[in-house]
Each structure stands twice: as structure tokens, then as C-alpha cells.
Amino acid sequence: MTALDTPAPRLDPATAVAVETVEVAKEPAPKEVGNRLGRWLLYAALSLITLAFVYPFVWLLSASFKPRGEVFDNRLIPKTFTLDNYVSVWQEAPMAAWLFNTVLVTLLATAAVTVSSAMVAWGFSYFRFRGRNLLFGVVLATMMLPGAVTMIPTYLIWDALGQVGTLTPLWAGNLFGSAFYIFLLRQFFLGLPRDVFEAARIDGANNWQIFTRVAMPLTKPALIVTALFEFQAAWTDLMRPLIYLRDSEDFTVPRGLKSLVDQFGFGGQWHWEIIVTASVITTVPMIVLFFLGQRHFVQGIATTGSKG
């Protein structure tokens, strides 16, 4: 894990020995000049690729400040700078309501999944009981299940509960934990020294107190990773808002953006400047989120790969 922050030391004893051996054996010395040239080439290549990855954002942001006729002019700096598009989006769509709905759903989804997944992960890591591995195997197996297989009956359940058309189905399922986060948090719990919990137990703490007062604070990095991942997932989700939301007033921002694409895109009036601007509004919070939690995102994803 730490390898991500601190690049592996280049000259540990083993390397030093190897370098010495090479010199003694009169091997050709490492190609110094070629290396410097190579480094410049490497940085040039990386910079070009970076441009390719970042430019679409810049293009989108720039286009959102252009008047209708210039959206597609592909200029980096708008010829005519205008904030009109932002005003139009606000007038054409209930953007404030969409933002409010999205923030609400995202916060509830994040809080619900983080707390419940931590509880379940704790149950699977601290206690020993018969059938634990079998049950945890079931948790892992559910990750393989395509969402399509549960989608329809899940809709019917929320329909039976009278919740279709409300925001509830977008987050309430998170109260029951999520396999991926349970897995992630359990890995983290298993890495904590057991003595700490036994000490708390001797001091008279009960199971719940050990979990909330000892385990949870120690798990902060993994909890942050879980919260950030779910925040992103809930904010960007399109499928569930498409299934469950009916009235424009109840839409989340991504669902709203889709309705704007329908209204102002190919299917409708060709006001791409409105779509562009709404896309910026949908995306910017995620960019901010990434810069706030960059380190945690990177570490969380790297862990996924190494543990999976």
C-alpha cells in the first residue's frame, strides 16, 4: 500500500551489491546519455497523453461559455465569452431541485452504505463462528451477479411499498451493506492488531463499544475510501433514476441531463450549449471530490486490484 506514496528505494543493499558486481565484471555501464534522452522522451510522451486525457474537460468547460453558434468552433478560448448558458439552464430546467435531490440521495446513500458495510465487515472479521467462511463466500459471490438479474423484482418490491416515483429506492437499499465495501473493510479490519480489542474488552467495553469506539476510529482510511467510492457511484448513477423517477422535479442531475439531451439534442431542438453547460454542472462536483480525496481514491483502487 505504502509503495504508492513512496516509490521503491532505488538503492537498497541488494542493488548496491549488484551494481558493484556489474562494475567488477566490466559490464558496459548503464547508458547514461541515452537515459537522459529517454527520460525526456518519456516526459514528452506522458505530457501528450495527459493532454489527450484532460482536453475533453477543457473543451467542455470552454464550450459552456460560448454562445450557441460557437459551441462547436473547437477554440480553446471562447471568441465571445458569455454566462448566458448557465442562466438558460437554470431557466429551462429545475436545476436547483435536481442538485438538491442529488445531494440528498448521495449523502444518504453514502452514510447508509458506509455504516452498514462496516458493521457487517466487523461481524465477519472479529468474531469466529461456524459457517463464517461459507457465508462470506456468499457475500463475494453476490459481487459476480449482474445487476440485470435482480433489477426487475427489486423494482416490484419498491413498487409494492409505494416508493416508485420517490427518491427512496435510490439509496435505501444501501442500508443493508454492499458486498464490495464489506470485502474492502473486512480486509482492513483483519489487518488491525487484535490485542487492542482484547484490551478494550478487559477494560469492560462490550461488543458494540469495541466496534464504535475502537475499531471504527482505527478504520478511518478504509471508511473514507468507502464513502468516496459510494459518493461517486450515487452521484453519477443513471440506471436507477431512469427506472424509479417519473417527474422532472424529482430527477437527479444525471437523469436531468439525460432529459435535456432528449429535449435539446438530436431528438429535439439542437440547443447543444444547454447540454454542454448541464454536463459541466454534473461533472464539476466529481472533479472537486477527486481533488479532495485523491490519495484515498488511488489507494482504494490499488487495493482492489491487489486483493481481488
Binding site: A3, P7, A14, A18, T21, L42, A45, L46, I49, T50, F53, V54, Y55, P56, F57, W59, A63, F72, N74, V120, G123, F124, F127, R130, V139, M144, L145, P146, T150, I152, P153, T154, L156, I157, G173, F176, G177, N207, Q232, T236, L242, V253, P254, L257, S259, V261, G265, G268, W272, V276, S279, T283, M286, L289, F290, I301, T304, G305, S306, G308
Partner: protein, 301 residues
């Protein structure tokens, strides 16, 4: 006494696990079984499900749109998954060579991964626009007359594949982490033995990170088979607007339309089960075929 402690421990554990148990029973186990039942019925949500035997599955085999959607999905997966793996491997190797300076570039590569899929669909329409899009504008400056990416049926999927490469940042981070874990001693030993750069990459780097590559390969494949949001945003009308593009009709999109736009819940359930089986078969084949090439460190210990 031992037994009492153990049963108390079991009870405590089950209390902590109970949210997942409830969720599993209500939102996973029951739905999986109920979808299975619905797949043998006609069901439009309003009237009760009517049992029709294997009719849905027979209809599925004869449905041209299912065949089209399956073909589109397979083509997309067959193009995008290897492309994503190669690009993310190349980028991870570049970042690894950059060493300490890689942080900035890693951030830049990951950033697109934060973009909501709806916005990616929009960006696709804009940047790949045949007449005035950024891509064709750039191709134009070097004298290439770019295709109509968003309308020409034979260019829609290649365009979507290129767009999917924009979000390889997650895989890059996974592969980079694996690269950083390759022990330096192996390279030093190889250098002493006279192995050149490509030889080291081929004989040490690739085998040592094959586990992570395998993981990315499987996860990307499962995701590709369920592609929905980007293509749906770009090419299919929701609600009252009903534009569509056959070249971008992925299986998940057709399934969604059957279930929630045409309210053919039984038919859609059958489609869901077929998708599940296809993904399982594909994953199984991938595991069987690639396992021989994956090197697990534990084996040698």
C-alpha cells in the same frame, strides 16, 4: 462454558451481520429466484403474471433485436476489453518508468474516471461529431477526412470503444500498483545476467503483474457486457422522445427497454437470465484459458 462463549460470540456476530443477511434475502436471493419465475411468464406489472412455459426463451431465439444486441455487445466487448488492457498496461509502464514524477500524470489519467457516464455520453456526441467535432477537426488538420462517428453504423462502435479508452484510469492505477510491487532484486539479477530492457519487461515485469492484468481483464469484460449508460445517453431517447440507433443497441439497453419502456417484465427477466449465463460462460472460458499464463507468487514459496 466454552460452548456458551462460542454461542454468545455467534449471536454477536450474527447481530453485526444481520443487515447484510436481510438485504441478501430481500434484494438478492428473492429477486434472483423471482426473476427465474417471471422468465416463464407474461407480466406487464398491471395484470398478474401468466405462466407461458418456455415461450419467452423461444421468442428470444427468434427476436432479431436480441440477435442484434448480442452481436453489438460481443463486438464492443471484443474490441474494448483488449484495447483497454493494452492501453492501461502501456500507460502503467510509462508511469512506472517516470518514477517519482508519476504522481501528476497519474492524476491526469485518472480524472476522466470521475466523469458521470451521462456526461461521457454527451462528450461522445460532441467530440466525435462527424461535421464539427474535435476528433474530426484534428484529423482534418493532418488531411484525413474523418468518418461520421455518431451516425455511420460501422463507425459507432469503434467510436464508443475509443471513448471507453478515456476511462482506463482505474485499471492504470491497479496495474501501476502491481508494477511497484515487483521486487527490484529480480531486475538487478536479470541485469547481471545481461538481460536487456525488453527482455526484462517480457520475462519479469509481465509475469509478475499477470495476476493484476487477469483481474483487470475479467472485471472489464463483465463491465463491457453490461454497458449501458454512455450509449443509452447518446443514442436512445428516454420517456416521450424515441430516437434510437441500432448500431449502439447493447444487450443491457434492449433489456432495459423491454422491462421499463415496454413493460415486458417476463421477457426482460428471461433476457436477464440469458445475460447472466452468458457472462458466467465467458468468464469461465477466460479463467480456463488465461490461468495457464497467470503467475502467482505463492506457487513458488
Amino acid at each position: 462454558m466454552g460452548r456458551q462463549v462460542r454461542s454468545r460470540e455467534t449471536r454477536a456476530a450474527l447481530l453485526f451481520i444481520s443487515p447484510w443477511i436481510v438485504g441478501f434475502l430481500v434484494f438478492t436471493a428473492y429477486p434472483v429466484i423471482y426473476t427465474g419465475y417471471l422468465s416463464f411468464t407474461d407480466y406487464d406489472v398491471i395484470n398478474d403474471p401468466a405462466f407461458v412455459g418456455f415461450d419467452n426463451f423461444k421468442e428470444l431465439l427468434e427476436d432479431d433485436k436480441v440477435a442484434l444486441a448480442l452481436r453489438n455487445t460481443f463486438i464492443f466487448a471484443a474490441m474494448s476489453v483488449p484495447a483497454q488492457l493494452l492501453v492501461s498496461l502501456a500507460l502503467a509502464l510509462l508511469l512506472n518508468w517516470a518514477g517519482r514524477a508519476s504522481g501528476f500524470f497519474r492524476t491526469a489519467f485518472f480524472l476522466p474516471k470521475m466523469t458521470p457516464p451521462v456526461a461521457i455520453g454527451v462528450l461522445f456526441l460532441l467530440i466525435f461529431n462527424g461535421q464539427s467535432g474535435l476528433i474530426n477537426g484534428m484529423l482534418g488538420t493532418i488531411g484525413i477526412d474523418g468518418p461520421a462517428w455518431t451516425t455511420d453504423p460501422s463507425w459507432v462502435k469503434p467510436g464508443l470503444v475509443m471513448m471507453s479508452l478515456w476511462t482506463v484510469g482505474g485499471s492504470v492505477i491497479i496495474l501501476l500498483a502491481a508494477l511497484r510491487n515487483v521486487p527490484q532484486e529480480l531486475y538487478d539479477a536479470a541485469r547481471v545476467d545481461g538481460a536487456g530492457f525488453w527482455r526484462q519487461t517480457w520475462s519479469i515485469t509481465i509475469p509478475m503483474i499477470s495476476g493484476a492484468m487477469f483481474f483487470v481483464f475479467i472485471v472489464d469484460t463483465i463491465a463491457a457486457f453490461q454497458s449501458f449508460s454512455e450509449a443509452y445517453t447518446a443514442f436512445f431517447g428516454s420517456g416521450n422522445t424515441t430516437y434510437s440507433n441500432d448500431a449502439a443497441l447493447f444487450y443491457a439497453i434492449y433489456l432495459f427497454q423491454q422491462a421499463f419502456q415496454f413493460l415486458h417484465m417476463g421477457y426482460a427477466s428471461a433476457m436477464a437470465w440469458v445475460l447472466f449465463v452468458i457472462i458466467m460462460i465467458v468468464t469461465f472460458i477466460q479463467i480456463r484459458v488465461t490461468q495457464r499464463f497467470v503467475y502467482y507468487e505463492a506457487e513458488t514459496r
